[in-house]
Symmetry: C2
């Protein structure tokens, strides 16, 4: 039950009111959280969550600053970037091949100028540096949190605390009872029943099938959006006026991303409920078990849900890996990335999904829905109450009002939201250096929002002790391994960083980037179009096209094996892969190093603990001795009856027992 | 001091004799070691070393068995291996380019038949499987050891034990005293002096320079051996009869490896001494510090020493990375690997170094030298004694005999030997599947040898408590990360596994390996020899050669860019790099999984510890209550004088104190 009112002038001060003023309000966003008070009011577990959130938010500040600098560096150098200058140069006049079959026509390279310039903002050498920085940042964050946790453990006196065996959940007990009742008819055994693997098999099977099905559903939806994008692009290309055609890509990308976003947000909620249901039918033994199983399931589902479209753009879009264009259903040609590189599209996708998800989930779900539920419950109660008028007149007690609040549903969704966000910040940071900034802004609000929710919108949860944030840290570590690989792949495969380096060192004649754009484009003879794929309107640009260019490393039409993968392709691929190996191992080594040089336990805390241990042993010894002395004293007294107390004091003062064994107080006599 | 005699019939039984019979003898090699007795006699630290050695040896058994199976698989399939069959086929009649300038002549591919067949023994798909297996084996070994350590900690009652601050070493105290004396002349300060970074700077500098110098020395020696190999090969090629020419490679390789081996063994001892000296001049504060610093230095030096020639063969030999042949000093052409692949040579190198190092170091240094030293000391003492005859007649006391023994020099060399061996077992296991077997055989002897040394050849060391094997485990973990990368590179770059796969899936016409040998060879037109590099004896094979072949992926002489790197080269390189990424991440993930599913603390031990904790709390409570009761009893007695003891018993039995508070014994009154 909550402490009391938190609003109104004439309310006596209580913890809830204090929390509401000093913590759960946006006005104090720049202050440290009153973690100790939170812990006192809500228990260790929730205290740790807010402490973790605080450390995370705090650590986001340097990351945001570096991210902004990297972004500004991109802005400042955009006019010095030779590849984008070459692309924008009207004199180069490169004719590009159509981006889709039949309906699309040839187009000029310079029309993609804006995209090319914009993509430089996110695809420049500084992002590689930023990527390394963020990997090390993640390692530092982990270490920092471990230290903070140790410090809190010490302050909250949890160092010696070990989690005890939880009580079985009621559902589990019921199931066991049911089983033993069923069995009793056959065997009449009396020993305590347990749920075996066999009993749980149907639930496990349901879980497995359910998860596979939902992952499949996510893939299907993403695939559907791709089909939508391809077909809409083709349709729009026919209908629109020539001037509007350039905006086709923007329109299609924007609508597709919004569809993705809406689907992600809806499925996020649905998957949350399904994960909970799947965990319930598994009937885990204890609450802790329940939470662990739930968090893994929720993580898997929400991760797949949030990242599938982003992974598609980062690694699969516009990569006709082998041979000809890839066709889906034999009629839709796979889309290609804009000439500026796929990184730009990845960036758009990422920023919209990240921002949209945060804004909508924060505002709508975290504030709106609890408010709405509260209102509905209030209405219901009112209808009931309208029957008996008498009670209606009386001012309601605080606990009655609080009963209207939403019950507390565990910390899993809160953690999950942060883990997914952590993924946005670290996983694809190479393509979007402003991600930490947005995460920071979100978290500053998020802390106060969650605080408000806990103080005013939810019933007060039962305080639970916890020493650490549990499996969450495991997920983060697991993720950090995965992150490294993903980052390495984003830099080497999605961005143009490696092709540029390869060009600079292997092909460039004068050691500059001049000619890079030309180098990345292959030639196509328009007479080689397969039947039915040539553009309907070949004279769209005003002149007849003989050779058009496309972005790939392939043999030219005049070579022996025309349109075969060229040597350059393999050279660039080898360079990309070599970069992945070097990046991964280097950053892994550096992270290990960070892990190694920062001790897990802060030095002052470990000294303090050591000192306390020594002190405790001393006190214990003293006490023991004191007791011994006392016993002897009593025995002595027994023998030498009538002597008074003071006579013993010289003897006692010789012992180490000090004040504990002073004669007129028996410290153990309480 | 040792317990007493260990030889002779009429010696009363003591621990030393028991250890000597039941542990330090080759006859009991199949038995488990009496670790508890070892711990009792030598202390925890040495006990842990032998326990670790035991676990390692035990874990080597499955690895050896799988290694033997893999080797047998290679033997069984050698006749079905198409590439080696093609190489041996006289009909193919491929003329190869000379392996060195001028003196070497053209040679027939089929003359390398034996090497090609032999190389299949170590270069087949099973070795890839074995490599994965050994990586997981290493992870399992770590986990197994952690569990064993926990179990021993529990059994030896070390669970609560925390290492205390060691006493400063005498050398450190002396140095501090010296410093404070020096300072006293100037400042007359009295507070305790400490060695600062400034005082230690010369020592650190010496260390740094010394280590750099010695690493450089190792590289120089390896380089010298390479020069020796190239020049000898050329010299032998001139002088020998044509029939003996085929044995040139074997002769050169064998002598070079033996030189390497001798150098490694000598430098190993020298580096051991230098590392100790370098650590001594650093003046570390405590013994533990000293050992840590020593072990890192010794590891670095010995690692570089033992592995440099192997790394050279594995990754650098015969790889003219770019452009033309690499020349050293403009006159020595870099050597190439045999046509069967470099893996064969790596295998020879590895097996000779590993076996030779183990045999010589074990026999000569670990048995021979202590025996010799003992003998010398004995002679010295005898000469002294011959002066006073009286004492000479008396039978010597045991401790006098034992004084002749070598003093104990720490466990670092023992651990170091094992860590280097662990490297042979895991690092290049892909090229030599019998390595675990040899390691196993060595260790079975090593355990008893070390045991004998500790019992009979060394003075009894001071027993030291230790909870774990210290920094050794850190080195092993560090190594295991490095191992993965090295293994991945050995498989993908040293062995022909990847080129074969690439050929099978990209070039092979009928899906078999037929034509693979031809595919890996490039053509060279003999008219393109640079001046002074053409063979002196071009008609050596009996016919005129127009086109000779060499092992590389390059454009043929009739192409546009002749002798340029071909597309195949880049494709194979990309495949090799992709394999490294997949292998590394897959095995890393699997190792993490092994780490995760095997709990660090065995379940029975953790339950036991938990139970004991509960029990201890209970006993403590009981005792406290007992004491309280006793105090009350005395007070009661004080009040109701004259009442006898039995009256109290009903009241006492109500308490939980049980036997502790029985009336006629005061348990705290000892």
């Amino acid at each position: 039950m909550h402490d009391g009112d938190y609003e109104g002038e004439n309310v006596e001060p209580n913890d809830r009111k204090l929390l509401c003023e000093e913590w759960a309000s946006y006005g104090v966003f720049y202050k440290y959280q009153p973690i100790d008070l939170v812990r006192k009011y809500f228990g260790e577990k929730i205290g740790l969550y807010f402490a973790w959130l605080g450390v995370y938010t705090q650590m986001l500040i340097p990351a945001s600053i570096v991210g902004i600098i990297v972004f500004l560096y991109g802005c400042a150098t955009v006019d010095e970037n030779i590849p984008s200058m070459e692309m924008c140069d009207q004199r180069n006049n490169i004719t590009m091949c159509p981006l889709c079959d039949k309906t699309c026509s040839y187009w000029k390279m310079s029309s993609a100028c804006a995209t090319a310039r914009a993509s430089h903002l996110f695809d420049n050498p500084a992002t590689v540096f930023f990527s390394v920085f963020m990997a090390l940042w993640a390692a530092t964050f982990m270490e920092h949190w471990k230290r903070k946790q140790m410090r809190l453990n010490y302050r909250w006196d949890l160092t010696g605390f070990e989690e005890e065996e939880d009580h079985p959940r009621a559902e589990y007990e019921a199931k066991v009872l049911e089983k033993s009742l069923r069995k009793e008819h056959k065997h009449k055994e009396t020993d305590k029943e347990k749920l075996t693997w066999k009993d749980r098999f149907p639930a496990y099977l349901t879980n497995f099938v359910g998860i596979i099905f939902m992952v499949g559903l996510t893939f299907a939806i993403v695939f559907g959006v791709i089909i939508y994008r391809i077909s809409t692009a083709a349709a729009l290309a026919i209908s629109s006026t020539p001037s509007g055609r350039s905006s086709v890509r923007v329109t299609v990308t924007a609508t597709a991303v919004i569809i993705n976003l809406v689907v992600i947000i809806i499925l996020d909620e649905v998957y949350g409920c399904i994960a909970r249901w799947l965990t319930q039918i598994e009937v885990p033994k204890t609450d802790k078990n329940f939470e662990e199983r739930l968090i893994f399931k929720a993580f898997l589902l929400k991760f797949v849900n949030a990242y599938t479209p982003i992974f598609y753009v980062a690694f699969f879009k516009g990569r006709p890996f082998q041979g000809d264009y890839v066709y889906i259903f034999h009629s839709f040609r796979m889309e290609e990335c804009a000439p500026g590189g796929c990184l730009m599209e990845l960036c758009i996708q990422l920023s919209i999904i990240m921002l949209g998800k945060q804004l909508i989930q924060n505002n709508l779900f975290e504030i709106g829905i609890p408010k709405m539920k509260k209102f509905i419950r209030y209405l219901k109660l009112k209808r009931q109450r309208s029957l008996d008028h008498e009670e209606h007149m009386k001012k309601k007690q605080r606990y009655e009002v609080d009963y209207n609040l939403e019950p507390f549903a565990g910390l899993t969704p809160e953690y999950m939201e942060m883990i997914i966000q952590f993924g946005f910040v670290t996983l694809f940071v190479a393509s979007f250096p402003l991600a930490p900034l947005f995460a920071l802004l979100n978290n500053i609000i998020e802390i106060r929002l969650d605080a408000k929710k806990f103080v005013t919108e939810l019933r007060r949860p039962v305080a639970v002790r916890a020493k650490d944030i549990g499996k969450v840290i495991l997920l983060l570590i697991l993720r950090s391994l995965f992150t490294l690989v993903a980052q390495a792949f984003v830099i080497s495969f999605t961005s143009d960083f490696i092709p540029r380096l390869v060009y600079l060192y292997m092909y460039s004649e004068n050691g500059t980037m001049h000619g890079f754009v030309n180098h990345t484009l292959s030639s196509f003879n328009v007479s080689d179009f397969q039947a039915g794929t040539a553009p309907n309107d070949p004279l769209d640009l005003g002149y007849e096209v003989q050779i058009c260019r496309y972005k790939d490393y392939r043999e030219p039409p005049w070579s022996e094996n025309k349109y075969d993968i060229s040597k350059d392709f393999w050279a660039v691929l080898a360079a990309r892969l070599a970069f992945v190996i070097v990046f991964q191992n280097l950053v892994m080594f550096m992270s290990e190093f960070v892990d190694w040089i920062i001790p897990d336990i802060p030095k002052d805390i470990s000294q303090q603990i050591h000192k306390e241990k020594v002190l405790m042993v001393e006190v214990f010894m003293r006490e023991e001795q004191g007791k011994l002395q006392m016993l002897e004293t009593w025995k002595d007294k027994d023998k030498r009856k009538g002597e008074n107390c003071n006579n013993h004091s010289p003897r006692l003062s010789r012992s180490r027992s000090g004040s504990l064994s002073s004669c007129h107080s028996y410290p153990l006599d309480v």
